[in-house]
């Protein structure tokens, strides 16, 4: 007997398991719901199933109560998250999404996200098929960007090491394709594709019940850790020799999501399984995924992610199973170092002589604001740009592969449309928030809408203490699921209730230390008061160039999280 089910968790399966199992490989009755014009929403299982197709049902929460009183249902709409491995998008594709956002979304924006892709917010049901068909024509889909599957695969946005980046990005794409659901459901429902009998279909890698929980993969090129490996289930750390990619160190079991008040949940860093040769990449990816598929907890969704599986079965058992399934032995890890996570703004020249312009996009929200026509600016650039665009895991945008003779024109457009503002502080560039209110149904507190003013306050505090040239990696996430990756920030806020956050301190700048909760459930005003005091102390007591996160640990203000499974709640 195989060991496939050796560590299977017995018990009553979570309801999502019934939902997936009965879905006819992700079809459900989505097609019927699309015809139901009495509601803008989806019913029962379809509400969950559309996530596997890259959409979340949301509504404008600001006016939910008002509409209920008006005898109107919530303003149901969907958010679409595209699948763009490594965040690379071509100018002609950009123009397509620019137009769709303007014509058919409630918010009119293109939202770059921490998953290195874009989201449309506020698409109404009658426009959903048009959306998928429009994207399909442009060569974009949204398959498996949400749900219990391997989601959009990230890849370091490194335009300088052009050759290594190209090779790494190819692998990100291959991994994404390899781990994608094979069901024809997406094509049938959204693209009017031919109907296929689901009983004749197979999901050889994901399995017919798909994964126990979401699964996130990255390809990372040190020394940058822009993708935040410790927020991901599976990471391929690019190892290059003489400018050529030769293989990957494989890190497994990172993840930041937790549940307020449930100490069986915690953020966790990934473990290093060792080095593999390039040609083993897909086998290893499939083996990690399938081991988690078979051993992951399908009884309790709160303990279903790979990180909990590793804790439960033991890292060595999990690793051995992966080696067995892939027919590969991990070699000793190659040396690498992460030094930063931020994007390098402005122009840089790659080793291929092409130029790359990284634009800072606050909150990743590309929209025309008064005096700052970001969306028009990006579209104008797309019209003349001959390279590609790269969305970064920090929610910024790179105009990549610009020939020298085009530099001036592109820069002029970027300046004209407010995309290259010299006044943006380092603090603002090192700050990040998830989408949160008003659209995200999970949000407990403001994030994106609160961030700009919060950063302004922190800038003020830094200036007050003479630290205006420094910055703190500051992240706000609206709920403990952690899209804003606050659990890898020097100062991380996790939404607890309206205007209230759990206040975490002590992460590092490289994203290799999880911050610990310093104060629970306090107001933004209280947080600023604490920061005022702490930044004041940091300015006086820091050693040369000591970061804020390192300082609060050294000063004993907060104890470091060393082994989060055991000490996160200490």
């Amino acid at each position: 007997m195989s060991d496939d089910n050796k560590f299977k968790v017995e018990g009553k399966l979570a309801d999502n398991e019934r939902m997936k199992g009965k879905s006819h490989l992700l079809r459900g009755t989505i097609a019927e719901d699309l015809k139901d014009d009495v509601t803008g929403g989806f019913t029962a299982d379809n509400f969950q199933l559309i996530r596997f197709h890259g959409m979340y049902q949301q509504d404008d929460r600001d006016i939910r109560a008002e509409r209920t009183k008006q005898k109107l249902e919530p303003l149901h709409n969907v958010m679409l998250r595209a699948r763009l491995p490594g965040g690379v998008i071509q100018p002609h594709q950009w123009l397509v999404i620019d137009k769709f956002a303007a014509d058919y979304t409630m918010y009119g924006s293109i939202r770059l996200t921490t998953r290195q892709t874009f989201q449309f917010h506020g698409v109404l049901k009658p426009n959903m098929k048009l959306m998928h068909q429009t994207l399909h024509k442009a060569g974009i889909d949204s398959i498996a960007t949400a749900g219990d599957v391997n989601r959009n695969v990230l890849c370091t946005s490194n335009p300088i090491e052009s050759k290594v980046h190209k090779q790494a990005w190819d692998w990100a794409t291959k991994i994404s394709e390899h781990l994608l659901p094979k069901t024809n459901a997406y094509a049938e429902i959204w693209l009017d594709g031919e109907k296929v009998d689901s009983t004749q279909e197979d999901e050889p890698i994901l399995g017919k019940n798909y994964l126990p929980r979401k699964f996130k993969t990255t390809v990372v090129i040190p020394p940058q850790n822009d993708v935040d490996v410790h927020a991901n289930d599976l990471n391929f750390v690019a190892i290059a020799e003489n400018g050529e990619l030769i293989g990957f160190n494989v890190l497994v079991g990172g993840g930041l999501a937790m549940t307020h008040g449930d100490h069986s949940t915690f953020p966790r860093k990934a473990d290093d399984f060792g080095f593999i040769e390039l040609d083993k990449t897909l086998d290893i990816a499939a083996a990690v995924l399938s081991t988690q598929r078979d051993w992951g907890n399908r009884v309790n969704r709160k303990n279903a992610k790979t990180k909990y599986t590793l804790e439960r079965v033991g890292v060595e058992n999990f690793k051995a199973e992966v080696e067995k399934r892939a027919g590969v032995k991990f070699a000793a890890s190659r040396a690498y170092e992460f030094t930063s996570r931020g994007d390098r703004f402005g122009w840089v020249e790659g080793i291929d002589g092409k130029h790359h312009l990284t634009l800072f996009i606050e909150n990743g929200r590309i929209l025309d604001y008064p005096g700052k026509t970001l969306k028009t600016g990006c579209a104008e650039i797309a019209k003349i740009h001959q390279g590609d665009f790269r969305m970064t895991a920090n929610q910024n945008l790179i105009v990549a592969g610009v020939a020298l003779e085009q530099k001036a024109r592109i820069e002029a457009l970027a300046i004209k449309h407010g995309l290259m503002e010299a006044s943006v502080s380092n603090q603002r560039k090192d700050s990040m928030a998830c989408v949160s209110l008003p659209t995200c149904p999970l949000a407990m507190a403001e994030a994106e809408r609160y961030l700009p003013e919060a950063v302004t306050e922190i800038e003020g505090l830094l200036a007050k203490h003479g630290m205006q040239d420094e910055s703190i990696i500051y992240r706000v996430t609206g709920c403990p699921n952690g899209c804003g990756r606050a659990m890898l920030a020097e100062v991380g806020l996790v939404g607890k209730g309206p205007g209230k956050y759990n206040f975490h301190l002590g992460g590092d700048r490289q994203g290799t230390r999880i911050p610990r909760m310093f104060k629970e459930n306090i107001t933004d005003t209280e947080i600023m008061a604490h920061l005022d005091e702490l930044i004041g102390r940091w300015s006086k007591e820091r050693t040369a160039s000591e970061s804020f996160g390192d300082y609060v640990i050294r000063a004993g203000i907060i104890a470091p999280v060393v082994d989060s499974a055991r000490d996160f709640y200490d």
Binding site: D37, V38, T39, G40, I63, E66, R67, T68, K69, Q70, K71, L72, E73, L75, L124, P126
Partner: protein, 604 residues
């Protein structure tokens, strides 16, 4: 399964038939029952037995006296009310008089009439009310008999703010004259404030008829007065409204809607008022004080000036606030205002009738006085204005559900023009000027032309775009509360799904519970080409026709000008297509629906 059939063949009626007959009989008085027994015997006896019309239902003695037949054609019940009150006065004179709805009247009976009073209203673009259509068309057809022995009088009810004022009344007169009948009196065209002119007309007509209809005192005649009507009528009416209170005024179109539609709840507590689904609520309202102040300024009049209205003294301010019509414009005002002020520009405008009508259609009294300001005596201003009239709103609730509340669905009219905000008279009053808890005077206006089918098992098709949804909310509440088993199909339309789906969550609930069998939605602005309820009706033509064949009743509520006509055309088209009928046959099919009260409209 067939063993009992032998018995049933000889039993008089099925249970259902028996129920229907009993229910019909329960509303008849003893004379009517006697007549009905003869009528039924006649039907059973021979094919030659034409039904004897109700007007000959009297004793022999009474039949010697000529009968005055009062026919009314009514959409909202005003003509019916005038007919009944005129009848009461005729009976007081000792005349023998019958009131009959045109929809219940057999046109061929006309040639037997000697004295006829026609009271008929006009709707939309000069259209006859639903229940008058058949008689109206008959009079113009080749089938119409010569009527040399007929003497008649016509009262038209209308509204001078419409172009084809009292057109139907005019047409009735023209057609009767063409058939050789003689006019007893000059036709009376009534504007919305008709009470006093009707009173004068009644006196004068009765004087003329005195010799024609010699009084013969007979108790039998008096017995013809349908007593049931009087009992059913509420203590409260247009002249004696109930001071209700506003319990809720809520905008139910979403914040980005191009429309402002309010859900209004009014408490009738303590009134004992009873209404039925299909009825309308008459709402008296006060004018906007800011608007009144502008009129005072434009006319150089003073708020405290004393004026007389129907011999009662008011301050001008109070008169303008509560007694006079200011939000609709009418040529009568312009004429009198110009006469008193000798305003030259206004005189010029009056010369071009079309231009004047167009101007009035977009102007309130305040706009006219501001555009043509002139000093006028307070009393002259008051005399130039016509009395305020209550507005009728189709009731959006059933008492089976809401008990002593009454709900309305009101389009709040508000727009900027000439530098300030204009509001609809009653809609502005209900939507913004009245606060929750404030009093408002209301009464119920019966509308027997818009009723749920008597049989709870009869399917219904409801076409109610926009505020036309109101009575169907009442219908569904009623059918829900009474557990009626008939199928229900609603057609609703408005500009946008996310903004204008009136009572969305209630319809979702009714769909879920199964009360609402089907809903067909037309949101005109949600796609490039506009889609309206009539388009949905066409799409579902086959099924709609099947429902009609199953006996479904078909209702339209809402805009009379375009929607009701487009829906009717769609109905005719689908009947022709799916019933495999010629245009004429389809028309006849729909006419029969109307005649059998299976096609009812509440349009405005």
């Amino acid at each position: 399964m067939t063993s009992n059939n032998g018995n049933n063949n000889f039993s008089a009626l099925t249970e259902q038939q028996l129920q229907l007959l009993s229910s019909a009989a329960s509303s008849l008085n003893s004379n009517q029952l006697i007549w009905a027994s003869g009528f039924l015997a006649g039907l059973a006896g021979a094919a030659n037995a034409l039904p004897i019309p109700p007007s000959s239902l009297t004793t022999e003695q009474a039949s010697l006296q000529p009968t005055l037949t009062i026919l009314y054609g009514s959409q909202t019940g005003n003509s019916k009310g005038v007919a009944n009150s005129y009848k009461a006065s005729a009976l007081e004179q000792g005349f023998k008089a019958n009131v009959v709805s045109m929809s219940d009247y057999k046109p061929r009976q006309l040639k037997n009439e000697t004295h006829l009073v026609v009271i008929v209203s006009t709707h939309g673009e000069g259209d006859a009310p639903d229940d008058a259509v058949e008689l109206y068309e008959f009079l113009a057809s080749k089938k119409a008999p010569k009527l040399p022995n007929l003497k008649f009088a016509v009262v038209g009810l209308g509204d001078t703010s419409y172009e084809f004022f009292c057109q139907t009344g005019k047409d009735f007169e023209t057609r009767l004259l063409a058939l050789g009948a003689t006019a007893l009196a000059e036709r009376l065209d009534c504007d919305v404030d008709y009470e006093s002119v009707i009173a004068d007309w009644t006196v004068s007509l009765n004087a003329k008829l005195k010799d024609e209809l010699k009084p013969v005192v007979t108790e039998q005649v008096m017995n013809l007065t349908p007593a049931a009507n009087a009992v059913a009528e509420s203590l409260y009416n247009k002249k004696n409204p109930f001071a209700a209170s506003l319990s809720e005024s809520l905008k139910i179109t979403a914040r980005d809607s191009v429309k402002d539609i309010r859900h209004i709840e009014v408490s009738l507590e303590g009134s004992g008022i009873v209404y039925k689904p299909g009825d309308a609520l008459g709402v008296w309202f006060s004018n906007d004080e800011a608007m009144v102040q502008r009129i005072l300024a434009a006319t150089s009049t003073n708020a405290e000036d004393k004026v007389l209205i129907a011999e009662t003294e008011f301050t001008l301010l109070d008169a303008l606030l509560d007694k006079l019509e200011l939000t609709l414009s009418y040529p009568g005002f312009v004429k009198k205002y110009q006469a008193q002020t000798a305003h030259q520009e206004l005189a010029k405008l009056m010369e071009d009738k079309v231009a004047l009508r167009e101007y009035l259609s977009v102007s309130q009294i305040v706009d006219i006085t501001e555009k043509f300001p002139a000093k006028i005596a307070a009393q002259d201003l008051v005399d130039a204005l016509r009395p305020i009239t209550p507005r009728l709103y189709s009731i959006a609730s059933s008492q089976a559900e809401v008990e002593d509340e009454v709900h309305l669905t009101v389009a709040h009219i508000e727009y900027e023009a000439n530098g300030f905000t204009h509001q609809g008279g009653a809609s502005g009053f209900l939507s913004t000027r009245l606060q929750e808890g404030d009093k408002l005077n209301v009464y119920v206006e019966n509308n027997d032309n818009f009723r749920l089918p008597p049989d709870p098992n009869t399917p219904i098709i409801m076409i109610g775009p926009g505020t036309g949804i109101a009575p169907f909310r009442a219908f569904m509440q009623e059918r829900d509360a009474t557990e009626a088993q008939g199928k229900n199909w609603l057609f609703f339309g408005n500009p946008n799904f996310t903004q204008d789906f009136l009572y969305q969550t209630e319809w979702q609930g009714y769909l879920k519970s199964g009360l609402l069998s089907k809903i067909s939605l037309a949101f005109s602005r949600d796609q490039a080409s506009k889609i309206y309820v009539q388009d949905r009706l066409k799409e579902h033509g086959k099924e709609v026709f099947e429902w009609l064949e199953q006996g479904a009743h078909f209702y339209i509520c809402g805009d009379a000008l375009r929607m009701a006509k487009d829906v009717e055309n769609a109905l005719l088209a689908l009947v022709a297509e799916h019933g495999n009928k010629t245009t004429a046959e389809a028309k006849e099919y729909v006419t029969n629906l109307r005649k059998s009260k299976r096609y009812q409209k509440d349009v405005y």
